[in-house]
Amino acid sequence: MRILSILRKDLLILLRDRGEMASLFLMPLAFIVPIALVFPPDGYNLNADRKPALPVAMYDIVDGAVGAQAQELLDLLVQSYALEQNTPAEEAAQLGPAVQAACAKPGPACDEAAGREKVLRNWRTVALIVPEGFSAAIAASERISVTLLYNPARNPVERQLAEGVLTGATMRLSIEHQLINGLRQFGDLIALAPEEVRRNIDRSAEFEATPVDWSPALSVVSVQPTAALISVTPNTLQQTVPGYTVMFVYFMIGAVAASLKLERNTRALRRLMTTPVGRGELLAGKVLSALLVSVLQIGVLFAIGALFFGMTLGNAPGALALLTVTVALSAVCLGLAAAAYNFERGLTLVLIVAALLAGCMFPADWLPPVLRVVNVFLPQTWAMQGFQDLITRGMGLPEVLPEIAALLGFAILAFAAAVRKFNDEEWRR
């Protein structure tokens, strides 16, 4: 019960500290909002093209040329996408040895390997594989499917868009052919058919089968590569919102330190020690109140990102919540340690540099390898990595357990160091 009293008191003090509240809630928004509004969605993706690119592996080759129906499909898709075929050798080399090997001989196998790799690397949202016999099947109104490889980590809207375009194109294709076949049976109606249809009928003379099934013969199968292989460049929001949230969550260190310092300087702590309250209760109350504010902070910032800027939150809300609490806890415990060791001057600068190294302001992949070793020692790195795993890479709890463990490690170390320093004299001073 006393813990609740202390929690309420600390919460009140924190919430009434306008400066701290501004640096926890308004400062990150001051970064997030302009960046989200001004930068293009692929602002952090150096390989982004202006027109969405669609790698295509075309196996449907008839007499050395693309099958007629397959070509029709490509003609439809080219309206929406920049199609990528005949992977150039330099690009294949860039995509790694496996792709390079597959591209020893140019052709669909090379394009498929390249397309797969591009999706894995998140250079592309989707890649299309058109199987052998596609044109023949469409012409015969038989069932056939094309394969759409997609990256689950990208914005699902982009994928749905690709699926939509592809489904639309294939439906049109297959229904058109079914219709034409049907019309052929009613020869007298052919004269009524529009010019374009009549041309198609002429061309479809080579197929004699009659449709028995009028449902669309062609379907799109979407295939998700295994998550562990995906390396992802986050989009602008996936980078910016978690980035500045993580950066400013750790500003709680300053807030906690300030609140403890106020308690010491006003000697309120001394008075507390003359009451029956225990040291453990005091610490617990302080930790819990700051934890609440930190979790609220992350929640508000992510909610703003999601509601106003369409940021995605990944597929594992439970893991996201757990990670959020762990991140907040590490910040709060570091705050206790900062208070215990009187680390106050220069704290802001350290937090900014740490955020930079941890990849809060731009993807950590951009850092030179030396610095990427250093940032293992920063909780921000782990927080950022965890959020990126969940939000950008679409992973789940098992994949972020290492990050959660690392953050808990930081929290426990900081807490132990703080408690050690707050020896009897410290409390009573």
Binding site: S5, R271, P276, R428
Partner: protein, 333 residues
């Protein structure tokens, strides 16, 4: 014989080489207002810290209501209330929130808590401003909340450490009245520290005078003042030496005479006299058996001996003079 609510037995607190409290013993009786009077740095706050279980004594022990303060701290904490010298309040909380918070720490809940908070706020005359933040209060109002927070748990023994420092006259009166009422109406025993002798004289049943960690006198204010006998005369006598001092001390109406270090006196002549061989012994402090007669005899002696009198002070018989007489120093710095 009334029971003692507090007993301090040979308390010592050392900070390295510094002996902040040096072998201090006294007892406070149930229902008594006990004053600790001494200048800044005398060891008053350190004594209170040891008595309230904040600081472990280097040596000695403290008993409150029969409980050992070090070994039974938890029980002692329920009995005592402490208003620290520093304003131990949260500036961004209101007066009421502060008092309420400390009340909750003593386990007060619900209606009992609300009533008690109102009661103590009323006691110190802070009901009207109770819902404003402490940071908007004057020094005196903060002091009153500080006192209210110390009262919230119905303490039997109250420690008030310099409760009137930096306080406007109105708040000061409020605090005096609260302290007197608490003691009179509720029988609360109080340990009151101050470096203002008027406060000790007005409020305290008994006063301990403390200087440099040592308790150098302990009695009722009246007895302490009476110990001065006929009063104290301070005489500025440049060039006076040991022979002058002994001659003055030998006068029939004089009990004792001694030189006062010139530091606190602030006389510009002090430098001059030391330069002329007076070794800085410029001011002679004379304890009189009877002030009028002593004055006449001293003046007569100076006249005969052709000593030039630069200044003459007849000190009012009060605790300030008692302190000066005991230590050769002023209470204020």
């Amino acid at each position: 014989m009334p029971a003692s609510i507090l007993e301090a037995h040979n308390l010592v607190k050392k900070y390295g080489d510094l002996v902040a409290v040096n072998d201090v013993s006294f007892a406070i009786e149930e229902g008594e207002i006990f004053g600790l009077l001494g200048p800044n740095g005398a060891g008053k706050s350190t004594t209170i810290s040891m008595l309230s279980g904040l600081l472990p004594p280097t040596a000695g022990k403290a008993i409150i209501a029969g409980l050992d303060v070090v070994r039974e701290t938890a029980k002692v904490k329920q009995i005592i209330g402490v208003a620290p010298q520093e304003l131990a309040l949260y500036p961004t909380l209101t007066g009421r929130e502060n008092v309420r918070f400390f009340g909750e720490l003593y386990g007060l809940r619900g209606k009992a808590l609300i009533e008690r908070v109102d009661e103590v706020l009323g006691y110190v005359g802070m009901l009207e401003r109770a819902n404003d933040r402490v940071q908007t209060y004057s020094g005196g109002m903060k002091r009153r909340i500080n006192l209210a927070a110390a009262l919230v748990n119905h303490p039997r023994l109250l420690f008030l450490d310099e409760p009137t420092v930096g306080v406007d006259p109105q708040s000061r009166n409020h605090i005096f009245e609260s302290v007197e009422r608490l003691n009179r109406e509720q029988g609360v025993s109080i340990l009151y520290t101050t470096h203002y002798m008027e406060e000790a004289e007005r409020l305290c049943h008994r006063v301990g005078i403390i200087d440099r960690g040592r308790l150098i006198a302990l009695n009722t204010p009246r007895r302490l003042i009476e110990s001065l006998g006929g009063g104290v005369i301070q005489l500025g006598l440049p060039g006076a030496d040991e022979s002058v001092r002994s001659a003055v001390a030998a006068l029939p109406a004089v009990r004792a005479a001694s030189f006062l270090a010139p530091e606190g006196a602030g006389l510009p002549e002090a430098d001059q006299t030391s330069a002329t061989g007076g070794q800085g012994k410029a001011i002679l402090k004379i304890e009189a058996l009877h002030s009028n007669e002593a004055l006449l005899q001293v003046l007569h002696y100076c006249n005969e001996a052709q000593l030039q009198i630069l200044s003459l002070d007849l000190l009012e018989p009060n605790l300030e003079t008692v302190f000066l007489n005991l230590t050769g120093k002023s209470l204020r710095d």
